[in-house]
């Protein structure tokens, strides 16, 4: 089966094919409804590497339009009705100005979070509530004050880290390559060219004095499931407002030729009153490409240049008014 991209000389023009979305989507997407408890691997089929480990290898994408938390209008419901689903897809396609849509991106669930069962993150601890003040550089937010230097911009804009763990899918570039060797699983994350090298030999975590942008991963097999324990985060990535002591446990299990059931549990007693969990399907995808971000990050120069031009203008105005 080819995982290659389309031939280079595809037509320039994107042709508008307006397919009646709800009907087509229903059949396809009903089978993809990924209520986390419901997906069962075929009992007979096993995916194994030549050395006998479960085989998760391949090119995958976890694009999903399901939001992390359940919107209020779906309160109490894990799944959308087909009608709601079609409307949601239509809204999203328009809003996100997407020129290409794949039905696997929308699995009919109302939230990625399945625990707590209300689909919402647990309440923040009092300490966390006090802490959530001020600008968080790990988010895609506009800088709050003057831009005097690169440190005044967020981590994404600076191409320092764009998608920390656990990775909630973005609009695009949600691609991964998993390659395994005896004793290791490596996951190449396209955004932005990070490889997680995950030892399976039970060695202890890195010394707590070492903090990393992607934390420190340790894996082991539980039956057919890869379980990865991640600690040693730094205090910059602040996933959903948490601290460097966030503890992440991830699970990957292959359930079909073209699908992995992925779920994670995060806990941070300094942030949430209890752990919470989410599930996101990883679907077979085309090849993974290089994402060199920092190298040609023209926006950084432009943003700083704009800020300096504004300074010069303000300076001139101040002089004139003297």
């Amino acid at each position: 089966m080819s995982e290659r991209i389309l031939a280079v000389n595809t037509p320039l023009i994107v042709v508008a094919l307006l397919v009646c979305l709800p009907a087509a989507a229903q059949d396809r997407t009903a089978s993809k409804a990924a209520a986390p408890s419901a997906v069962k691997a075929s009992a007979a089929k096993k995916w194994l590497t030549p050395w006998g480990d479960p085989d998760l290898q391949g090119s995958w994408s976890n694009t999903a339009w399901t939001p992390l938390e359940r919107p209020a209008k779906y309160k109490g419901r894990e799944l959308m009705t087909p009608q709601e689903r079609a409307e949601e897809e239509k809204r999203r396609v328009q809003q996100e100005r997407v020129a290409f849509y794949d039905p696997s991106w929308s699995d009919g669930r109302t939230s990625l979070i399945y625990d707590p069962p209300d689909g919402l993150k647990p309440p923040l601890t009092p300490e966390a509530q006090r802490r959530q003040i001020g600008w968080n550089e790990s988010l895609r937010s506009e800088p709050p004050g003057p831009i005097n230097g690169p440190e005044d911009l967020n981590l994404r804009t600076r191409c320092i880290i764009r998608d920390p763990l656990p990775r909630i899918p973005a609009n695009y570039v949600n691609n991964y390559e998993i390659v395994q060797g005896p004793g290791f699983v490596s996951i190449f994350q396209e955004s932005t060219h990070e490889t997680r090298v995950i030892p399976l030999d039970g060695r202890p975590h890195l010394d707590p004095r070492v903090r990393q942008w992607f934390g420190d991963s340790r894996g082991h097999w539980e039956g057919d499931t890869l379980v990865v324990d991640v600690t040693n985060f730094n205090n910059r990535t602040r996933f959903e407002g948490s601290t460097e002591n966030m503890h992440l446990v991830e699970r990957w299990k292959r359930v079909a030729d073209d699908r992995i059931d992925y779920r994670f549990t995060v806990s941070d007693p300094a942030t949430w009153t209890k752990p919470w969990s989410a599930a996101i399907a990883w679907n077979k995808s085309g090849p993974v490409y290089e994402y060199a971000c920092h190298e040609d990050n023209i926006d950084m120069y432009a943003i700083l240049s704009v800020a300096r031009a504004a300074d010069r203008k303000a300076g001139e105005a101040a002089k004139k008014s003297k």
Partner: protein, 290 residues
């Protein structure tokens, strides 16, 4: 010999054992073994016919400073001996890089200006040295940077993850067709020739250097790498470099790669992007007015 008594029998026995052991160790001496029989046969990747290259590897040489033989040289004076260039025997076979005349001049210019900020366009004033800017180092340079890299070898693909800037590349062990786009780390296609992993790399952009000395290439660069296990813990690495826009003929580099055997050795993060920001954005920083 019976009349010599027990102690001598024990001594004879001990000598016999020692002699056997000495003879066995002669047979496992790599040099002799190569002479006597076929080359070293590494353990296989289980379930395959190929050697198992999984693990953490690193080059031990000074090629990242200058891939050709070179002597010691002063660095920026404010850093004393820290950034002074150490001497090295080089990794280029024949020690000559066959530049076209224009390219040799450009290489010299690169070297003179490697840390001087040069105006790229209206917005960018940057030093030339891509390593200083924490840019993806390209191939083959990533192989001989003074940092380890992890080879994760599967049965269908290999990922090589380099600690510097977490540069990574995927090497499918099958035909992949032409590169869809130019990249820093190139577009790799791997296959086995006996126990040698051969990686054919194309699709490079022209933005990387071979070393800190300004040795460079164009987007016509084509690299063929060979990784061969030669003894436990050692790979022989060879790379043939071809670039019709820059060189007059192909040329080759080679050096050993060593397995990291430290007890706690593991792949760690070296995200140097934040460390490079002052160097590349410093000219756009707000200066306090008088």
């Amino acid at each position: 010999m019976d009349h010599m008594g027990k102690p001598l029998k024990i001594l004879n026995g001990a000598i016999a054992v020692a002699a056997t052991m000495a003879f066995s160790s002669l047979l496992t001496d790599p040099g002799l073994a190569q002479t006597l029989s076929s080359a070293y046969k590494a353990p296989r990747l289980p379930g395959t016919a190929n050697p198992n290259l999984n693990g953490l590897w690193e080059a031990v040489n000074e090629a990242n400073w200058d891939i050709q033989v070179h002597g010691a040289q002063a660095g920026p004076p404010q850093f004393g001996a820290l950034l002074a260039q150490p001497p090295g025997p080089g990794i280029v076979e024949g020690n000559e890089i066959p530049y076209q005349p224009w390219a040799l001049a450009k290489k010299k210019e690169n070297f003179e200006n490697r840390l001087v900020r040069v105006k790229y366009d209206e917005l960018r004033l940057l030093p030339l040295d891509p390593e200083a800017k924490c840019y993806l180092p390209g191939i083959p340079r990533a192989t001989y940077m003074p940092l380890p890299f992890q080879i994760t070898q599967g049965n269908k693909k290999i990922i090589i993850a380099y600690e510097f800037a977490n540069a990574s590349r995927i090497v499918p062990l099958e035909k992949v067709g032409p590169a869809p786009v130019d990249s820093y780390m190139g577009w790799s296609e791997g296959h086995w020739e006996g126990d040698t992993l051969v990686i054919d790399v194309t699709g490079f952009n022209d933005k990387t250097w071979f070393d800190r000395a300004g040795n460079f290439h164009s987007d016509a660069l084509h690299v063929v790498e060979r990784y061969t296990p030669t003894s436990p813990g050692v790979l022989r690495y060879e790379a043939t470099i071809e670039d019709s826009k820059v060189f007059t003929r192909p040329w080759k580099m080679s050096f050993p790669l060593y397995r990291r055997l430290d007890k706690d050795a593991q792949f760690m993060e070296f995200n140097c992007v934040p460390f490079s920001e002052e160097l590349i954005y410093g000219h756009l920083r707000k200066t306090t007015s008088k």
